[in-house]
Amino acid sequence: MSRILKGAAAFAALSLSVAGCANSSNGGSGGGGAGASGLKTLAAQDKIDAPSDAVKPAGDGKAKCAGTTTIAFIGAQTGPNAQLGINEYNGIQLAINEHNKGNSGCQVQFKKFDTEGDPAKATGPVTQAVGDKNIIGVVGLPFSGESKATNKIFEQAGLVHITASATNPTLSKQGYKTFFRGLGNDNVQGPAVKTLADKLGAKKVFVVQDDSDYGIGLAGTATKALGGMVAGSDKVTTGQKDFSSTVQKIISSKADAVFYSGYYAEGAPLDSQLVGKGFKGAFIGPDGVKDPEFIKQAGSAASNAYFTCPCIPGDLIPSFASAYKGVANGQAPGTYSVEAYDAATILLTGIDKGNTTRAKLLDFVKNYNGAGLSKNYKWDATGELSDLAVYGYKADGKNIVSVGKL
């Protein structure tokens, strides 16, 4: 019996021991009252110019391809950060619907594989997709951690994949030829955090990172960009719910803004606990926090929230927004819906041009140069884009609205 108890205790210890590594930088203190925030409010924008020459999924309508031709989405459909995956596959679904409607001779199939956004679970679905010979192109994976864990599998199979949202810079440095990133990486989002903080008039920014590849990488670039503006830092874990020590450190640091480098599942309780303890400054989150769920979770505390995102506000492109609602049960486009739509459009364009094998489609994407709804797509040898844009957003009542390009 006591053996069972010991085993159980060991199990408990194993399940929870999170390797805390690396030291934190100092929690500096200085002048400026906490919450005596003379921060500016940034105005919401009501429209965004989409390029008029954007490539459309339907193409010329004369495409011919085998009925088994398939593109896949691999990413979170369930799990705590599923919303991002849902935003993406709805965007892909829209591109495929538009393509198939316009091309009776080429009905491309769409398959979805669920990773739950979890690096430990992603290998299974990726292997499964790679094993399906009909799949010649993939949009995914949405998150950096799971991408890092699985990019090699795509490489070995020669299967082209375009991520619409994984932003960790190291992903393009793994040397894989099948990896393409359909947006700017954290090296652009980090400096955008400083631009946003400057626009808000913030003087001291406290940086909090989680334990994901994404959060660690982004906190690094943001800290570097912020330089002397960093008022202190803390690290939290995925799944953490009680942030009392972090909140206390932020308030003691007298920061007038907090940058939370992680996802909304932890960002929302952190922001609401901050506001609950009287923090009056701004809460800045990256694309992983920019999610309607964040506002549902944080409630009125979210009114201090701003976001950076290398994603174009799809709801401000009227034609896209109305078509998207048709496939998403009336939901407005979310974060990365447009980017996923663009990525799928590129794959579909390749198929329409007769690139119906993995090798040919990979080659097509590698040499692609064309406008999408969000930006121009042309990749360098590592799979990074040259045209990069980061947009600022803010919480406005129950919605997230854009405050313009950063």
Partner: protein, 330 residues
């Protein structure tokens, strides 16, 4: 080795942060520790009576949290705090408490009847109970997942938290007072229930020697059911406090980590020991927070908590207060 780690600045000690925030860490730790302690009681009571670790207890807890959220959103609360009279808030809190406690008690009882009783009737080996416990935990967890999906329930806030007074430079908030106060009251109540009442005598008798207790006319099955119901009700109460503290935390797997921590608290204090659960819970809450300040970031919370657990168990393998429900004096 420690020197090498410090030299490479992998491990740095932030004494001034720790000392200046000592009381903040203590009071925040006590608040969450009180929640651990209430959940830990469920593990401890069941272990005391059946020598069984009810791993499904974390799901008993989260079922209560769902009930609390549904009740409160049914009463019209949303993510932003409304302005209500104190009387109305207390009334709503009590309704939610009742809903949480009732739901958790029912789930705990169902787990007992479905997963443990049939095995007990067949004299199954103890390992089998452990597996069904873990199995029940997954069944309930994924039932919630299939029902509610993978996102947290929209949060519910009952009132705007207020600073009440300042002790040792640390601000104490209304929610902290309510949670710690109510949890300690419940703990004392349970302690007295076990020590002084007829039900408590029955529980102690079964914990001490089930066969003799049966011979002496104690209805063992009824005592076991009562134990599960009490443990469940306490977990349901803890669920209300959890929702007050982390309204964003009600998600299908939200009980898992909290359950493990509560179980740890029970072992730390001495599993099977009611006062041990209280002590273990409060200590675990504080120790983690101390670690977060001393070692510089919140990622150390669990590392430090479990190092302390291991150290304590090395010196006192039965936990701080020792582990025997049956030997509690009346």
């Amino acid at each position: 080795m420690l020197h090498a780690l410090v030299a490479e600045s992998w491990l740095t000690f932030h004494w001034s942060d720790f000392l200046s925030n000592f009381w903040n860490a203590t009071f925040d730790g006590l608040t969450f520790g009180a929640i651990y302690a209430l959940v830990a009681l469920g593990y401890t009571l069941v272990y005391g009576v059946l020598n069984l670790i009810n791993f499904a207890h974390s799901e008993v807890f989260i079922a209560g949290a769902y009930a609390v959220i549904f009740t409160l959103s049914g009463l019209g609360f949303g993510p932003s705090p409304p302005t209500l009279s104190p009387i109305a808030i207390i009334g709503d809190l009590l309704v939610a408490l009742l809903a949480g406690a009732l739901t958790s008690a029912i789930v705990a009882l169902l787990v007992e009847r479905i997963a443990y009783k049939p095995l007990r009737a067949r004299n199954a080996p103890r390992l089998v109970f452990l597996i069904t416990a873990i199995g029940m935990s997954f069944v309930i967890q994924y039932a919630f997942f299939l029902w509610r999906g993978a996102v947290a329930e929209p949060s519910v806030t009952m009132y705007q938290d207020k600073a009440i007074f300042i002790v040792f430079g640390s601000t104490i908030y209304l929610s902290q007072l309510i949670i710690v106060g109510a949890a300690v009251l419940m703990m004392v109540g349970i302690d007295q229930l076990i020590r002084r009442t007829r039900i408590g005598r029955g529980i102690r008798a079964v914990a001490q020697d089930p066969d003799t207790a049966t011979l002496m006319g104690v209805n063992r099955e009824r005592i076991i059911m009562t134990t599960f119901v009490i443990g469940g009700a306490l977990a349901g109460a803890a669920a209300l406090f959890y929702v007050m503290k982390v309204p964003q935390g009600v998600i299908y797997n939200g009980g898992f980590i909290l359950g493990i921590k509560a179980f740890t608290a029970a072992v730390l204090g001495g599993i099977g020991n009611i006062r041990g659960a209280l002590l273990g819970g409060l200590l675990l809450g504080m120790i983690g927070n101390y670690g977060a300040y001393l070692l510089g970031d919140a990622q150390w919370i669990d590392v430090v908590s479990f190092i302390v657990l291991v150290l304590v168990l090395m010196v006192r393998p039965d936990g701080i207060l020792g582990s025997n429900l049956g030997k509690v004096r009346a």
